[in-house]
């Protein structure tokens, strides 16, 4: 979340509600992500997913507990169709919050490179999300500690479970 003040306000506000309310609000904001999933568009799937995670970490104490005490940083690199060059973005977890960056962090725990947007989609949405499966197909390259990817994928699944995707 870009504005720490908004983040703090939202955190405090949503502490007043039961956790299922937080999940309900997160679900309200998941419309664009759902539409992209439903129509199989991959334009900004990762961006939407990270945005929704970011929101969920703020408003859901329960979901936020996934990153309590967790410090780690990720770089995601994708090669959009049409040879437009590699797009890199990063996320970092620290002090129970997630931060997003539109560039590759030089100091990261793991970097995941997707060969194409379809692979990214499969990576995020496949029913048996397992990084190994895509590594087997040689469509994903992981540099660094693969356990960080396992944790990230758990959080994605946890989010989807909360908002009723899958």
């Amino acid at each position: 979340m870009k504005h720490p003040l908004i983040q703090r306000v939202l955190e405090k506000l949503f502490r007043l509600f039961p956790s299922r309310w937080s999940d309900f609000f997160t679900r309200l904001f998941s419309g664009r992500l759902r539409r992209q999933i439903e129509v199989q568009v991959t334009d900004d799937l990762l961006g939407l997913l990270l945005g929704l995670m970011d929101l969920a970490f703020v408003i859901s104490k329960d979901f936020r507990s996934n990153i309590e005490g967790f410090r780690g940083s990720y770089v995601f690199a994708t090669e959009p169709a049409g040879g437009a060059g590699i797009v890199e973005e990063s996320i970092a977890f620290e002090n129970g919050a997630m931060r997003r960056f539109d560039h590759a962090l030089s100091d990261h725990n793991v970097k995941v490179t997707f060969s194409d947007p379809a692979t990214l989609r499969k990576y995020i949405l496949s029913t048996d999300q397992d990084i190994l499966d895509l590594m087997l197909e040689n469509k994903v390259t992981v540099e660094g500690n693969v356990n960080y990817i396992y944790r990230f994928l758990f959080m994605v699944n946890d989010l989807f479970k909360r908002i009723g995707i899958k």
Binding site: S65, D128, D130, L132, M135, G144, N147, Y150, F154, D158
Partner: protein, 848 residues
Amino acid sequence: MPDISFTDLSLHRCRLSTRVETLRKAYFDAVPEICTERPLLITRYSREHGLFEKERISILDKARLYRHVLENRTPVVWHERGRKKGMVPFSFVDRQLFAGSTTSKFKGVPLYPEFLGLTLWPELWGLPRRDSNRFYLSEQDVQILNREVFAHWMDASILEIARKRAQKTGNHRHLEQIQLLQKLVFFLATKVQCISHTIPDFSKAVSQGLRALIDQAEGKRALAQDPKQQEFYEAVAVAMEGIIAYARRLSRQARQMADREADPEVRQELMQIAEICGRVPGSPAKSFREALTTIWICWTAVHLENPNIGLSLGRLDQILCEHYIEDIRNQVIDVDGAVELLCCFWLKIGDHVPAIPISGEKLFGGSGSNQAITLGGVDQNGGDAVNDLTYVMLRAAELIKLRDPNLNARYHPEVNSDAYLRRLCEVNINTGATPAIHNDRAVIHALTEKGDRLPQARDYGIVGCVEPGSNGRCYGHSAAILLNLASVLELTLFNGRHRHTGLNRLISTETGTPTTFEAFKTAFKAQLQWMVDQTTDLNNFFGRVHQDVYPTPILSSLFEGPMDKGKDLIEGGAVINSSAATIIGLADVADSLSALKTHVFGEGRTVTFPEMVAALEQDFHGEEALRTLLANPDKTPKYGNDDPKADANVTWLLETIDALFHEKWNYRGGRYRVGYWTMTNHAGFGRLMGATPNGRRGRENFTSGITPVSGVTPELSRALHSVAKQPARFLSSGVALNLKYAPEEDKEQMLNRFVASVKGYFDRDLDDSDGGMEIQFNILDRDTLEDAARHPDDYPELLVRVSGYTAYFKDLNPQMQKEIIDRTQYRLSSGRMILHRPFPLTGERSPS
């Protein structure tokens, strides 16, 4: 020669008892449940005692950790419920004769976050619903694993510690090797997954009791000058105290249950359990049941320390025979009682399954824990070791038909009786898949060639699938390296590059475009050398990480060598300290060499090398005539037809591979050995690989073990001769020859021919060889297998031999099911192959 007291070696009158039938039904009804107890206890203790912060974890640290777990884990005497299909809880009457369990669940999945346990993290929510081999996991346990366990091991698993060390020291070689490992297409290095793959020595625990081992350790500690030795002996004592404490807790629990029990018969059973667990394993076992209890309780402790992958129980008919004979003589038990005890023991051994992520299931799934038990053969003096208990164990296995333990029988053609071999074949026909049969003469020769002393070699047991290792004294980590030989061929064909990783990327070294077959073999050998260098170097690196952070006080206590040397098993404490690689893709690569020699480099060449490479790149599209030519055994020499040209390429590969590996030293001061058994990796690696010059299309399975390629070996006797002539000295880590026989109406005639086929295969007169080393069977008709592939739920107990271990057919992935269905099937009455069309993969099948 021991006296065999049975007139009916088949023990036909012995049947499953009601107790065992009830337990067996519950066992097959039960879905495996993830158990969080071990990882939670381990993680909490490690955090509280600062083990995550330590660069080196001492053996004493580990011993205290395991003692803590043994003193705090749930003492399960009898289970009350399991989970069945649909993850619904069900109750059953558990009247097991052995208390204790590998996990807290009836059929549990132990987790080892120290190794690859975290691979399950992404799918924790989906484990009960995934496509194959579902595991039950409660929502509460998902949170426990997510927050209290896995989060703490992200930087502390063996692989990540190794990677961090390589990064810290700027060791790019190992970092690149780890990258190669993660490509999965070149090799697998299993030290990141386990230590395991060995046979503990239970004889002292049974005959002397753990208290005596503690006394010995304390005595040696008092005399030792070296602080490391002192620490080792202290760790042994601490770990053994932990095991005794666990047994006493079981005893107390049983007594408490007895106090509450109204039924006098049940109360009596519980009191008996309480008494036995109060005595053993601390004290020497006084009866057959106590001896089994000692082994069982020690076994749960060994699995607390080491992942459930290939840990094996060894020659139990030898270790337990005296107790059995004594009890029979004193009428403590009868044969039926012994069979019941063994069936209960078998069920306990199978009370856990390995945790495999879904992609692992897709590629390599269906495996149990591969806990081998070895029967028969010769003793350390070369005498006949087959005894009454051997036959009782065979009968128990025949009746209970479980995947685990993986039963292996030794047979010495010059020492063991024909009646014994006949019984082994009969059990194979009756179970359809077990036991595997090993030729003692060939195996013992192979082991002595690698330096084992003759008595050590004669006392071999089978580890995991089919790997021979001197019982309780050889730490050989027989599956340390799983090498995809087809990738060596690929690097040779594509000048150091691999289609899977992209032909624009140089992986190994450029060996050019060969113009002669000899030049091709030279290039192949160079690529093989590169692969051997990478795999052994990485294995040694991982082994040193084990030495720093994963000492093994429990396994070391139950092993011959460490107590004498005052040294941990993983530091080289065992008497024999080998490591081993197993090779996947032998027959396909050998046939590819034959194809290249005949059609590319031969006098009547039909295709140039670049044309062959281009055809492979195109997966033979537009080159069907070439593919047909390459696949045709009448036009292209094929291993398995007793064709000297084809078989010579196999021998060359075996000799070359053995020589290159045997040059290498491991991190414990031993040398590398080589085996040819593939588990399900021939299907997994096959799925990743493009077309090969033997006419195999891309993504098709490779052939298992040392078996000739399916469908190209029409005559059984020729197939057996081709394999049997391969020199045993190059096969010191075992082989799996998979044969499939069609069931026949005339059982007696079938049995006669079955025995004759095994005897012929083991015959030493063939080419002055030792005869074939190992043989294992599936005796199933094709219709059954096809129907089971289409309706897996109708065949929950259908047991098959994969390549080494036995598996339930329903648990195998579709590619592996296809491989077993498509294996060459022979009719023993004709000795000829039965022709079948290839079975379609899932998605291509029409429902029947």
